[in-house]
């Protein structure tokens, strides 16, 4: 279980394949303190997630092919017409039920474990954030900002309180919970600072647009900024805006960036569907990373339109997401990918992944030939962390392998 690189050639570490010990996690200046048993709890959950995806889930496909699928056809006298037919048929199968109940339980346990860590030191964390953000202009909150319905209706990925609520004024426990627990959900696949997505974007840009020198960058749905910091570090002369509707995330994110020595990011509370404070053509780069699926159709269209408006000619927009439900994706895979939509509180996930994103980008003003499509995987320290690029397995929506959908204006 020890993930330190110097043990790689000693004993079991040589053949070990699995999540690294939690203790390799990156501890920036605002990271919550974790006790031995709190770490052990997260270690268990990382392994539990891996066990579910590699040992339990594969047989769900067998169940579909041999039991639930034939039963559906016998009952209905036809093949399933869409992924919803498949998912509803699977819901009646005891093996799918068992896998689903365990997966839901694991997600709830992950939230509980992280919330315990964050809440028991909530006042200390708030004071440390206050000390790191009281001066300067790196944090700009707007208490009057309405919280969109798509955030407030259900708590995304079963995270009580979501991104926007606080237990007391100045509380950041929701953000600290998010930050210290991602490791468990992803088995370390996002790297030390859970920023493998951000590094993937930086690598994509440096390979595909080597001459691109953005001066102003906007990250929409920045969360605690974990994926925008690698971008800010790669372009230290750029002024970066990390935009989010959730004040606790932004406070924590600003303190986190400060403690990591990244000073060219300003954390701004705002809604990406209204960027009116910025003039036409203000930004060279607009980024969203795993944000689109947590929006609504209306807000996504508004964000696309605003993105087009605030981009300078020659500027780029990149959206990093799980792959779309293309026509050639089997209905079974689509149904499995829909699990998080309906059973892990990701309500826009299902619709978002069937939409013609290209069509919406064109409607927003981008020219079809300027559209960008590619695939990326999380960029992590491969000595310590599992590399999604080497992983042939499938975790239906949770693997750190994404699509880039974008455009150049």
């Amino acid at each position: 279980m020890n993930g330190s690189p110097d043990l790689k050639n000693a004993g079991p570490a040589q053949t070990y394949s699995g999540p690294p010990d939690y203790r390799v996690v990156g501890r920036h200046g605002i990271f919550p303190e974790t006790s031995h048993d709190e770490i052990a709890r997260l270690n268990f959950l990382a392994h539990m997630n891996r066990h579910l995806s590699t040992r339990v889930m594969p047989a769900v496909k067998t169940v579909w092919e041999r039991r639930a699928g034939p039963a559906f056809e016998a009952r209905e006298g036809r093949a399933p017409k869409d992924r919803h037919d498949v998912r509803k048929a699977l819901m009646t199968d005891p093996y799918y039920q068992a896998w689903s109940a365990l997966r839901r339980a694991t997600m709830e346990q992950r939230q509980q474990a992280g919330r315990w860590i964050a809440l028991r030191q909530a006042e200390t964390l708030a004071a440390r954030v206050e000390a790191l953000t009281a001066l300067g202009d790196r944090l700009e909150l707007d208490p009057a900002l309405p919280i969109p319905r798509y955030i407030s209706a259900v708590d995304h990925h079963c995270m009580p309180g979501s991104y926007h609520t606080e237990v007391f004024p100045g509380d950041v426990s929701g953000a600290a919970n998010y930050d210290c627990g991602i490791f468990a959900t992803t088995g370390g696949a996002l790297g030390r600072f859970s920023d493998g997505g951000g590094h993937a974007v930086v690598r994509w840009v440096s390979r595909n647009l080597p001459d691109f020198k953005p001066r102003r960058i906007l990250d929409i749905g920045a969360n605690l900024g974990q994926n925008v910091l690698p971008i800010a570090e790669a372009f230290p002369d750029a002024e970066v805006i990390a935009l989010d509707v959730g004040a606790p995330m932004l406070r924590y994110g600003a303190a986190r960036a400060r403690s990591m020595g990244v000073d060219n990011v300003r954390f701004v509370q705002g809604d990406g569907s209204d960027l009116s404070r910025w003039a036409d053509g203000h930004f060279d780069w607009v980024q969203t990373t795993m944000t689109l699926h947590e929006l609504s159709l209306t807000s996504m269209k508004a964000i696309f339109a605003e993105t087009y408006r605030v981009l300078a000619p020659g500027g780029i927009v990149l959206h990093v997401e799980q792959p779309q439900y293309a026509a050639d994706m089997a209905l079974f895979e689509q149904a499995m990918r829909d699990w998080d939509a309906f059973y892990n509180n990701e309500p826009f996930w299902s619709t978002m992944h069937e939409l013609d994103i290209d069509g919406f980008m064109i409607e927003a003003g981008f020219a079809r030939p300027s559209l960008i499509h590619d695939g990326v995987t999380a960029v992590v320290d491969k000595d310590v962390f599992p590399d999604a690029a080497d992983d042939d397995g499938e975790d239906y929506g949770r693997k750190a392998a994404w699509h880039v959908i974008g455009a150049r204006k």
Binding site: M1, H36, D37, A40, R41, N43, F44, L45, M48, M91, P94, Y96, Q97, A98, S100, A101, L102, R104, A105, T106, E108, Q109, Q111, Q112, R115, W116, L119, R120, Q121, A122, E123, T124, S152, A153, V154, D155, C158, M159, P160, G161, S162, V167, S173, F342, Y343, N345
Partner: protein
């Protein structure tokens, strides 16, 4: 106090109606079981840490743990502990078996009427 916040809120329900995949009573037991399974893993990791620290400090070699042989008395004490433990854990099964043998068992509700008669 933060510890009070943690006790009150760490297990809070997320907004949104919870899906159940099986009989909710069964899923409730599964959820409690998986939390218990997790705590067993936590205890196992802590024990492993203790063993390794003891070994590093030259107090106990882990090989001594692997090859430890209890004396007859120690083995008896340990055997008794396992018996006591199983009795406790499987209490409900023992009571179910005893119920099969009892022919004149009454529900307290029935006795209530009897003992309340004037």
């Amino acid at each position: 106090m933060s510890i009070d916040l943690a006790l009150a809120l760490s297990s809070a329900k997320p907004a949104g109606k919870r899906p159940y995949f099986m009989d909710p009573a069964v899923e409730r037991v599964l959820n409690i079981l998986m939390a218990t399974v997790q705590e067993l893993a936590v205890t196992r990791e802590r024990l492993d840490t203790i063993e390794r620290l003891l070994e590093m400090k030259g107090v106990v070699a882990r090989s001594e743990i692997e090859t430890f042989e209890p004396t007859r008395d120690q083995a008896a004490e340990r055997g008794l502990w396992i018996q006591e433990y199983l009795n406790r854990v499987l209490r409900t099964v023992q009571q179910e078996a005893e119920a099969l043998q009892a022919s004149d068992d009454l529900a307290s509700e029935e006795v209530a009427a009897e003992v309340s008669r004037a």
